[in-house]
Amino acid sequence: MNALATGAADAIEIRNLVKRFGAFTAVKDVNISVPAGSFLVLVGPSGCGKSTLLRMLAGLEGPSEGEIAFVGQTVSSGAGGVIADAGRRNAGLVFQSYALWPHMTVAGNIAWPLKVARWPREKRDHRVKEVLALLGIGALAERYPAEISGGQQQRVAIARTIAPEPSILLFDEPLSNLDAKLRIEMRSELMRIHRATGATSVYVTHDQVEAMTMATHVAVLNNGRVEQFGKPIELLRNPATTFVATFLGTPPANLLPARRVGETFVFNDTPLAPGSIAPGHGEVQLLYRAEGVSVGAVADKPSVTARFAEAAPIAGRTMVTAMLGELRITGMAEGYFSAMPGDPVTLSFIRTPDAVFAVSGERITQ
């Protein structure tokens, strides 16, 4: 709420951030900034440095190089270490393990940070009731953390974090310990809370679906580096690298290696695209989304024959995956489709490639 009021400066600005643990570099030269009220999702496979980045934002780790600024105020830097303490940067963190204090009741857990912040008793009690109601856990106030379920613990952890009204909310894979149904429920819940509090949020996950549904801004991390940063639709539409292209999106997109033969790019003897899409390149990788690959032969469109592997019905259509040697190709069939594993399936490429990448993985702009 406070953050919305402030003007020009971005709510979070990360400049040239580097974090080294001994010889290992966990975070490499990260630059991200988001305006107040954004929902930034850091997404990537495990070990990509996203949690380290979040802990630096929280002030639990100091950066090795670079700077973090909240609303124009430098809170951490490589030179100065943790300048503003974890508790003094008006940020709250929801831990993956929830980190509820086992010796305090639910209400006690929520009230303690307020006590530390010297809120007067009346205001404190009022606020505890308010967040309990916001999360729908008023009935649990006098229980101990060990006496409630995982989903309820999750709600308590969120309530505890938002109680002091921080202007920045940090989430460390908060839904990873919940079952699939609860996860979808809590996802909407978190978005509701984000809207209700207006706090700028940073959310770490390895689940690209969470990233795509919740984010206003997404940073895809891989090996400590930001592969691409932008709005979710932008990343889907214009992936900068093969990593982003294959990591985001459901169903996963196909990447076919192709070789230039004369004026055409050829994949396994099948001519796919004109050579003009990547002038000067001998070998490229062509990106086809599943919706650009049709099951069955289509007149005038290039096609390959692969071995059927699996099929999954999605919204009236069927997502079909087939193997061509070691390569998985996913396409869509109209209606329901099924076959025996190993059966030959014809896959047609009904659109031009959605993107073209160099062998090294970078996008070749057309």
Binding site: A58, G59, L60, D85, A86, G87, R88, A91, G92, L93, F95, Q96, S97, Y98, A99, L100, W101, P102, H103, M104, W112, P113, V116, A117, Y144, P145, A146, E147, Q153, R160, T161, P164
Partner: protein, 582 residues
Amino acid sequence: MTFISTFAPSGGRRLLRSGFVMPAILVAIVAILVVAPLVRILLSTLTPAGIEAWQAVLVSPLSFNLWWRPLFNTMVLGFGVASGCLILGGFLAWLVVLTDVPGRRVLALMGTLPYMIPSFAAALAWGTLFRNSRLGGSAGFFETNGLAIPDWLAWGLVPTAIVLIAHYYSLAYTIIAAALSSVGADLVEAGQMAGAKRPRIFFGIILPVVTPALIAAASLTFAGAVANFAAPALLGLPVRMQTLSTRLFGMIETGQNERGFVLALLLIAVSALFLWMSDRLVSGRKAFVTVTGKGGRTKRFPLGTWRWPLFAVAVTIGLLTTVVPVLVLAASSLAPQSGALFSNWTLHFWIGEGGGEIAQGQAGIFRNPVLIDALWNTIRLGLVVALTTMLLGLALAYTIVQRRGSLLATILSQLAFVPLLVPSIAFAAAYIALFGAPIGPLPSLYGTFALLVIAASAHNLPFAVQSGRSVLGQISADIEESARLTGAGLLRRLFAIIFPLAIRGLFAGAILVFVKMVRDLSLVVLLFTATSPVLSMVAYRYAAEGFMQFANAITLVILIVCLAASFLAHGLQNRVQKWKES
């Protein structure tokens, strides 16, 4: 782990019976081992002679000396030792687990060692250094070297408490350290995020979370101190400082069995009362389960300039309670004059022939047939008790786990934990009450090796059941069932799956029982006779008669046996379960 159902189709009836026979046998064993002695000792004090003893102890001119004074001393010792242990053990645990003190592994190891050293070793070492000439006999090291030692530091409550703290603080350390390392870094960091400063986090989060462990540590060290016999006997008896356990020993030794039994019951009541109260305090909703974070990470606070000074303090504590007593004992066993520890060293007390001027002509311990006998007896006792204890523990744990929720399981597990509430010397008294006289056609077991084994097995029962359960806990039902789905028979599963997984736990438990038995004094002190001597008893006798060098030498032998067993166990463990090397 349900073996029975496998066989159900073929031999259902037979197994139905064995499914009943086994628990019935176990109930009978536990009843004989635990319930019978306690009932018997209670009944013995309800006879006319017993009632008289109650009156003598509680309401008579004698009762001040028989009961109130020893009770007061016992309480002072209990509270003193418990608080000392909490301070020392808590300090070390905090240092090792929650700070960036250098040499953490070394400190952690040093924190666990004193418990391996028998408390009478520390008591003997204290005597060797601090003994003063008030009681005649040769003075200790300090006084001989011109440092006058006041009585309160040489004898009585203060040195007894110090020696017991030096012994039991490592128990407190182990419990508190385990609790502290269960406080996940996330809990602390959540506090930091709330803006709390270090003291606030310590008192607001860490301390409350480990409070149950602190209470457990306090009550266990309290019970240990109250039950201890060796330290007050060696350092207190010469100046007539009596605790309940030494009083109890004195009564039975002088043939006043009924009074001894009354004191034993009172001692049990005192010890059980405190253990029960502490259990009340930490049970129920307050027994929080900590949800640990990623990989059980713990937060280590930087100590800054205090790193090395605090390290030095911790190392000093460790050295004073482990290395120094052992060195003192070793030097003393070589020095002909007990005050001059480091001069005229001789091997006389170890291997010397008798008849000389030293030690009133007594031969060295390795020429003493009683000692060789005692050494053999002690090792035999340790091995036999380790075996019976672990077998019994496994059988009990298996029955309890399998019949979880049934009345039988509840009764068995409750009964098996009763000896925890009974100080070992009182337990020994109960065994005298039961087996001191022939029972029907059975001869009196008093003074036999068998009685030692039975009493020791019963005394170790709580530990045995606990380690049996943890061993069984290592083998999840899934593992056993997946082996069964491959079609492997019971024996095959037993040898290929269960045994390899259980062996390490069984072995570790057996070694602990062995060490406990080898260094035990308070249980054997009443049950021992000339026909079944054990090392600790021989050492105690020598010390009581003033032959300190002999006593110290035998104590060293005990230490060496214990250490050898521990090292052997460590070596073997890594050999049997290679995948668990740590």
